[in-house]
Amino acid sequence: MAIKYLLLAALLFGSLSAKACDACGCSLSQAYWGLMPNNNNHYVGIWWQHQSYRSFFEQDIYPEQGGIPEYFNAIELRARYRLSPFLQVVAILPYAYNVRREPTGARAIEGVGDALAMASFTIIDNSDSLKFAVRHRLALGAGVKAPTGRYLRREPLDLSNPNFQLGSGSWDVLFNLNYTGRWRTFGLNLDGTYRYNNTNANDYRFGHRFNGAATLFWLGSSGMLEVMPNASLLYEKAGWDVEEGYYHTNTGGEALFGGLGLELYWPRFNLGASWSLPLSQNLSAGLLDAGSRASVHLNYFF
C-alpha cells in the first residue's frame, strides 16, 4: 500500500506558474499550483501566497522617497475534479490583500481576485507501470481567467504601478504543458504556461505572459507520512501592457527565481510550503524590484 501510495505521489500535476501582477506582477501574476500528488483523486485546498516588491515609478519626481515597498497576499480556495482518467479540471478562487507602504502611510486594497479554471488532458502516462525504470507523464491544459476581481481605472493622483489591482478586468486565456519524469525516488517536473490577455472595458490590456518552472524532487517516507523536499527554478516573462492602442514600455519584463519547498503527505491530506528569491530580473524597465515569495497550503483529497 505504501509503495502504491508513493507511486501515486509521483503522478504530479506539476507547478503551474501562470502576474499582476504583474509584472509582473504582482496581483496579476502567478497562480502557483505546486507539486500535487494523488492524480487519481479529487481535492479541495486552501493556499496562502505572498509576494513582495519595491516600486520606483515615481523616483524621478520624488527621489527622496526611495523605492516604495509593495506586498501582495492572496488566500486561495483551490479544487480539482477528475472527469475521467485522462481529463481533470482545476479551479482557483483568490481573495487578495495588497499593501503599499508610502511615506504618508500604508495604502491597501482587498477583495476577491480573478478566478481561474483549467482543464488538463493527459497525453502520456506510464507512471502506473512497473516495467519502466523511468516513468513519464505529459499533460496538456487549457483554461480561462475570469474578471471576478475589481479593476479600477487610475484616478489622476493615483499611484503608478498598474499591477496594484485586484483583477485585470478581462477574460484571459491560458495554455499549459506539464511533464513529470520519475526515476526511483527522484523526479523532475517541467511546467510551462502561456497566458493571453484580452482588453478590458477601460481599454487596458495587460501584457501576455509566459511562466516556466523546473522542479527537482525527492520522495521519502516514514510510516504513513510521505515527505517530498524540492528545489525549483522559476522563470516568468511578460510583454508590455497596452492602453488605447499604445504600449506602456515601463511594464512587463522578466525574472528568474530560485526556490525551495517541502511537501508532506499523509492519508487524504497534504501540507506544503515554499520560498523563493529572485536570481535575476528586469521588471517594468527597472522600475520594479521583486523580492522574496512564500506560499503555504493545505489540501484534502477525496
Binding site: I61, L83, A142, G143, W240
Partner: protein, 136 residues
C-alpha cells in the same frame, strides 16, 4: 483505442478551439509606441508681464496628453541670481489637468524672472516651455 480516451481528446480539442478563437486578434490591432509629448498651455502669466515687488503673480497652466501625464514641474527662475524656486511638482495620471497657483515676488527681487514648465508622460515624452516676466 479506449472510447473514454477518444472522448477526452475531442473534449480537449473543443476547449482549445474555443480558446484559440477567443485569443484571436487582427493584424490591424497592432499597438504602437507613444511618441506624442504632452501639451502645455500657459494662461497666466502672460509673456513679459510686469509684476510689482512683493506681489503675487498668478500662475495658471493647462496640461494635456493623448494617453495621460506622468508628471509636471513648475519652477520660477530668478534670472538675476540663477536660483530656481519650485512652484509645484506632481505625479499625475490624467489626460487633462489644470494648475492654479501663485508665486510671491520677493520684496528685494531685482528680476527678471522666468517661469519654467515641464510636462512628462509615461513614455517620458517631454515638453518644456519658458515664459519670461519682469519685476518693477
Amino acid at each position: 483505442m479506449d472510447r473514454r480516451f477518444i472522448k477526452s481528446i475531442f473534449k480537449t480539442l473543443a476547449i482549445f478551439q474555443a480558446l484559440a478563437l477567443a485569443a484571436c486578434s487582427k493584424a490591424a490591432d497592432q499597438p504602437a509606441l507613444d511618441t506624442e509629448a504632452p501639451a502645455i498651455h500657459v494662461i497666466a502669466p502672460l509673456e513679459n508681464a510686469i509684476f510689482p515687488k512683493g506681489s503675487l503673480a498668478p500662475i495658471t497652466i493647462e496640461f494635456a496628453d493623448n494617453l495621460g501625464m506622468h508628471a509636471y514641474y513648475i519652477y520660477m527662475m530668478d534670472e538675476s541670481t540663477g536660483q530656481p524656486s519650485l512652484v509645484e511638482k506632481k505625479h499625475i495620471h490624467t489626460k487633462n489637468w489644470k494648475v492654479e497657483q501663485q508665486f510671491l515676488i520677493p520684496e528685494d527681487a531685482i528680476g527678471p524672472f522666468r517661469l519654467d514648465v515641464e510636462a512628462v508622460d509615461h513614455e517620458y515624452n517631454t515638453t518644456r516651455m519658458s515664459i519670461p516676466i519682469g519685476v518693477e
